[in-house]
Amino acid sequence: MSDDILFDLKGVSKKFVKGKDTITVFDGLDMSIARGDFLAIMGPSGSGKTTLLNMLGGVDQPTGGEIWFDGSRIDSLSENQLAAWRANNIGFIFQFYNLMPMLNAERNVELPLLLTKLSRSQRKKNIAAALELVSLSDRARHMPAEMSGGQQQRVAIARALVSDPKLMLCDEPTGDLDRETADEILSMLQLLNREYDKTIVMVTHDPEAAKYAKRTLHLDKGVFVEKDLAA
């Protein structure tokens, strides 16, 4: 396996059992994601985009196959091991920002740092740097309810990158934003990818959003299909 490969999925399958029915979302999926990639995953609703992202992020486990991350298998980790793995390696960005409404911006950004050994003053420095990067230094004390959707998503980005994870996983990060704000957010992700070497996997159904990525994969009924829309 090349050192350039961050993620390697080998024969991954995922089935949901609901009563007597079994929904097979993936059946023998292979894929790899290079270090430093900015990958957009597109596809119709129900094609398995979120399920794939969940497995990459270690919040859901495959029914079969192997998921290798940075040279070690994550598909067989226990729930607590996965939590620790997520804390060390992943930054999540959600469609609906998922900020804690009772905490102000800097407290929200601080959350991942509470899982580290960083001192209070070191945490403060990192929070300030992350908010600076998303141009929200002046909103540090604002509550989520006092901010626009775009600002909230920028706080969420700061939260996702504050602990310096290798990988950022975004599920429809601009799905709830207008065009202009979406472009702002996407440029920010692009910057993180280009200047800060973050590997980014982004699920979207917006072709405009996918244009910011380095490459785009199209998922349909659990398999990747060739579809050169980028042209």
Binding site: T50, L53, N54, G57, V59, D60, E79, N80, A83, A84, R86, A87, N88, F92, F94, Q95, F96, N98, M100, P101, M102, L103, L111, P112, L114, L115, T116, K117, R159, D171
Partner: protein, 396 residues
């Protein structure tokens, strides 16, 4: 384990900060716990006050002698000869002249009208010699004077004067055909004697047709708490059919009848507590459901499910502790020192004050904590099991 406590602490703080979003429901849970604790403490304070009044009444330096099997002063009868014979027993403290120190007494029941309810209730009236006053601890005449022998005069206990009408000093009061003059008020520092009327023993004998008989004899013990010589004396004389015990033991056994109050208080509070528990569970399950996405998001970030558990449990405990404190404070405000009277074992009114002690307070808080713990535990369990993928689902 990095940040094990800081993440738990953060989640606890977040749970508590989220309370205003469910303000009414949370307040209802607090209120339910408060009511339960207040009710419990009212009962316990009542039992405690009664117990304390009776415990403070009996002295262990004084023996009380009653007829065998009479159980209370009211049912006992002792003849003149019996009293004379008894007072020759060993183990009785002598006065300066070497005579035994004792007090032979009568104990009858009269009627009075209670101030607050305007209903008739029994008042015990004690026929006593002035020497008998010396066998009561902390006795003071707080108003007027003591009765004079041979006259229809009474001194009233402070408790009687507070609870019953018509016992002001100088007033005349009728019991059946006889009229009595109230000449003074006495206090015994809150003990049950304050619920009595005292009058001259020979006068009570004649006005209540008791001939020369008494009902009880109190003996000052040569050695505190030691009734053995007197007991042996009684056992060795077949003409004496008497029970002897220290006054402290006598009142303690009278007080046991009212232990039922505390038990009843606990029983009713536990039944009500189950209601409050149902409320707490409902509130907390609602909280867990409402915050599922926040919980899942924290888990996605890497927070442990232990922290989710702790946060929910802490939220529940905080609600119930606040409820417990509010309830205890309300009980203290309304009931501490609240004066009441109840039927003693002698079917007479014993006046006592509700008493909220720190231990009772602790009991109330413990009950609140129990409700909070159980009411939080199961929802906390559910919170810890919120699937992390919930974080990626849209707002429900």
């Amino acid at each position: 384990m990095a940040g094990f406590f800081s993440q738990i602490w953060t989640v606890i703080v977040m749970n508590i900060l989220s309370l205003p979003r469910r303000a009414w429901m949370s307040l209802a849970a607090v209120f339910a716990v408060a009511v339960v604790v207040a009710v419990l403490l009212a009962f316990l304070a009542m039992a405690k006050g009664f117990e304390k009044t009776l415990a403070g009444t009996g002295s262990d330096k004084v023996a009380i002698v009653t007829r065998v099997g009479s159980q209370s002063e009211l049912n006992s009868v002792l003849g003149r000869d019996t009293v004379n014979n008894l007072t020759t027993a060993p183990g009785i403290a002598p006065d300066a002249d070497g005579n035994p120190i004792y007090s032979s007494e009568l104990f009858v029941i009269v009627d009075g009208i209670k101030r607050n309810s305007q209903t008739q209730a029994n008042i015990p009236m004690r026929g006593i010699f002035l020497e008998g006053f010396d066998l009561r601890e902390n006795l003071t005449i707080v108003e007027g004077r003591a009765f004079e022998s041979g006259r229809n005069e009474i001194v009233v206990g402070k408790g009687v004067q507070q609870q019953f009408e018509g016992f002001d000093v100088g007033a005349e009061i009728r019991f059946g055909k006889t009229a009595w003059q109230v000449v003074g008020v006495f206090s015994t520092g809150g003990s049950a004697f304050e619920s009595e009327l005292w009058a001259d023993a020979p006068t009570v004998q004649s006005q209540f047709q008791r001939g020369s008989s008494f009902q009880t004899v109190r003996l000052l013990l040569a050695n505190a708490d030691d009734v053995t010589p007197i007991k042996e004396f009684i056992d060795n004389d077949p003409t004496l059919n008497l029970d002897v015990q220290t006054e402290a033991d006598y009142f303690a056994s009278q007080g046991e009848a009212l232990n039922g109050i505390a038990i009843f208080g606990w029983a009713i509070s536990i039944v009500m507590g189950l209601g409050a528990l149902a409320g707490a569970l409902n509130t907390m399950y609602t909280s867990v459901a409402a915050r599922a996405q926040e919980t899942a998001t924290l888990r996605a970030i890497g927070f442990s499910n232990t922290s989710a558990f702790a946060g929910t449990l802490a939220e529940s405990m905080v609600l119930s502790i606040v409820g417990g404190i509010v309830g205890a404070f309300a009980a203290w405000l309304f009931f501490d020192g609240f004066s009441a009277s109840t039927l003693g074992a002698t079917f007479t009114q014993v006046v006592f004050s509700f008493e909220l002690t720190p231990e009772l307070f602790a009991n109330g808080i413990q009950l609140a904590l129990a409700i909070g713990f159980i009411g939080g535990f199961f929802p906390a369990w559910r919170s810890a099991r919120v699937p992390v993928v919930t974080a990626f689902q849209g707002v429900e």
